[in-house]
Amino acid sequence: MRQEYIISVYSENHIGLLTRITNVFTRRKTNIDSLTVSESAIQGIYKFTIVVQCTQAMAIKLVGQIEKQIDVLKAFYHTNDEMIFQEIALYKVPIEPIYESDTIETIVRRAGAKILEITKDYVVIEKTGHKEDTQALFEELNQFKVMQFIRSGRVAITRDPIERLSEFLKERDAFLTSLD
């Protein structure tokens, strides 16, 4: 059954690795819905968060092929309910229709969004949440003709009590020493 999976990849920071990882998806004709890359809690180790729609069998294969890449330390796949995740969205809304309506403040407050900047031409609103939430706010704000809208890739952490990366690295070092 196809469903949404979050694939997390921990890697060294090497040029070309992003292409190597995305190529694993390209070759299997699997579309990446969103991709976020940034440095993890451990300096020098980068985390990729990739959202895809696929079967579980495909998720397992993708993770296997990603882990096979030399510069990848570890890869996991999770379903949405195994992770806490968020996306951030920004909306630029023209100022004029807002002056004429008194609903904007209610909309922003009810959505748990916040106003980042107000100029004489527009207001920039920020909202963090799941895609459905940021999309719902977009629909609502669009009565004022949203000028620009952008949603980030996903960031996600597991529901496990701790991020096990540092333990994993210790285990890996011990393992590699045992191979000598």
């Binding site: 070309g16 190529n23 070759r27 397992i60 294969k61 096979k68 030399i70 070092d173 000598d180």
Partner: protein, 533 residues
């Protein structure tokens, strides 16, 4: 240029072979790697030189062959400017390399090269590519080389888990009709002896993939032949009767499995494999044993009970008798006019006492050669398996001869593939490499023609070749040779080729519509293997 200038001073220490085309260099490196187990090395210049390596790199990737390919690149300030002979070889080679890296400063060179050799040769081997910018080549450094022995993000192999071995041993002891399938992993891990011990203790028949050929002597009583599309009748037919499949160092390629949903329906599956990504990739396993084949087989042999499966092995022999009557005798000892590929292969194998290194190209002659050439020693079969690269044979044979200078190397090639890398005759002649080239010429792209005959009502669409005078071409390069088209001259011709001091080109005119059987038609189950059209 700077690398080659430096090579000028190291001609004693570094044996360099100048090929005529970069594809020749990379296939040559593959041939060397396959017979020695060491990394093959090739250089190519930037731009077109680098892109010409690509086919060989892809071939090495799919056939797990260790290569270190070093390419030149424009100076680093010119990267990304579409400079003369700039090609993004790192970007292009990502999908077909185990690892690649661009060096832009001289200080990076020692570590990059050390890592390249470590990555290429450990775990499941594969090709790596190092791209050297011109300024990195011209720069200077205090040279210090340290061998690479580990990389934090790379686990070449895991320790074999005794629990997995135990679970596998239980299945093996309980099986009534077990079948071993072995592949290239046996040769890569140098597990030939361990495989033999395992087979002999358990009495289990063993069949090989194309890439596993020569790991077990042909005449071993439990060697039941080749798997797959043009493999032997017994192992294909009986795969679906086996109650246990023990796959070692192989990856269930589609040419081996036929229709996956009907593959080994009655069998439990044990998969012994070094690459975790191969487990459950095609065939779902019941027990997987991760790790090096040699270590795993040793442990497994210690954990299983001695056994015999005489009745089961006999079923393979019954299939052999059927195949022998319907196919093999006609191929090897034909009575009709027109030479067959099979008789040429048989005689070549006999005349070399089954001890030669066989290098083949791709197509009909390849399948016939794999079926009928016999082997006593491992690392004796060099062929392009996964990628099926026509043009592989001649340069790979030259690399194999360099890797095994004291052995007879027979390059068996069709007329189509021969013309794809024919210029390497020049390299063979210049370096006096005594490769015995057996050109099986049917004036067709034979395998395609066979399919057109069987599945497209003999509509021979663009498969006929109007060939040149190959012997004159060979002589032009300074390589002796002759043509044979009569059965009574075949044996003496092959003998003459083998006895010749130096390279030799023997052109054998083959019957045009000589076909390869048995055959598992595309999309059919392996047990639907057919013996004749």
């Amino acid at each position: 240029m700077p690398v080659y200038d430096a090579l000028y001073d190291f001609d004693k220490e570094v044996k360099h072979i100048l090929t005529r085309h970069e594809q020749g260099a990379v296939h040559g490196a593959q041939g060397y790697a396959r017979v020695t187990g060491k990394a093959g090395i090739c250089f190519a210049t930037s731009g077109p030189g680098a892109t010409n390596l690509m086919t060989g790199i892809a071939d090495a990737m799919i056939d797990s062959t260790p290569l270190v390919c070093i390419t030149g690149q424009v100076a680093s300030p010119l990267l990304g400017t579409d400079a003369f002979q700039e090609s993004d070889i790192v970007g292009m080679s990502i999908p077909v390399t185990k690892w690649n890296y661009q060096v832009t400063t001289p200080e990076e060179i020692p570590e990059a090269i050390a890592q390249a050799f470590y990555i290429a040769t450990t775990g499941r081997p594969g090709p790596v590519l190092i791209d050297l910018t011109k300024d990195a080549q011209f720069g200077e450094l205090d040279f210090k080389y340290e061998k690479c022995t580990k990389i934090r993000s790379y686990v070449p192999e895991t320790h074999v888990d005794p629990h997995e071995v135990k679970a596998a041993a239980e299945l093996i002891d309980a099986a009534k009709k077990p079948l071993i399938l072995f592949g290239h992993g046996i040769i890569i891990s140098r597990a030939e002896e361990e495989l033999k011990n395992f087979i002999e203790k358990t009495g289990i028949p063993a069949a090989w993939t194309l890439m596993g050929l020569s790991a077990l002597p042909t005449e071993h009583p439990l060697n039941v032949g080749m798997l797959g599309m043009h493999g032997n009748y017994g192992p294909n037919k009986l795969t679906n009767e086996a109650d246990l499949i023990i796959a070692v160092g192989m990856r269930f390629d589609d040419r081996v499995t036929g229709k996956v949903s009907e593959y080994a329906k009655n069998a439990k599956i044990i998969h012994i494999e070094i690459d975790p990504a191969e487990i459950d990739k095609i065939i779902k396993t019941d027990v997987s044993v991760l790790g090096d084949a040699r270590k795993a087989l040793k442990m497994l042999t210690n954990n299983v009970q001695p056994n015999k499966h005489e009745a089961w092995v006999n079923e393979f022999r019954k299939c052999d008798a059927i195949e022998n009557e319907k196919v093999i005798q006609k191929d090897l000892y034909p009575t009709k006019p027109g030479l067959t590929m099979g008789e040429a292969v048989r005689i070549a194998s006999e005349k070399t006492n089954h001890e030669a290194v066989l290098v083949t190209d791709v197509g009909q002659h390849q399948m016939i050669a794999q079926r009928y050439f016999k082997f006593k020693n491992s690392r004796s079969n060099v062929t392009s398996g996964g990628l099926g690269t026509m043009g592989f044979c001649l340069p790979a044979a030259m690399g194999a001869q360099l890797g095994a200078p004291d052995r007879t190397v027979v390059a068996m090639v069709g007329d189509g593939g021969f013309q794809m890398t024919i210029q390497e005759l020049g390299t063979i002649a210049q370096n006096k490499l005594p490769v015995k080239i057996m050109l099986l010429n049917n004036n067709f792209l034979g395998m395609v023609r066979q399919w057109q005959q069987l599945f497209f009502e003999k509509r021979y669409s663009f498969t006929e070749l109007h060939n040149p005078d190959f012997i004159t071409i060979g002589k032009g390069f300074g390589i002796e040779g002759h043509t044979v088209d009569k059965r009574e001259d075949l044996e003496s011709s092959i003998q003459k080729m083998i006895d010749h001091d130096g390279p030799y080109l023997l052109e054998i005119k083959i019957e045009k519509e000589d076909n390869v059987f048995p055959m598992v038609p595309t999309g059919a189950s392996v047990s639907d293997v057919i013996l004749e059209p």
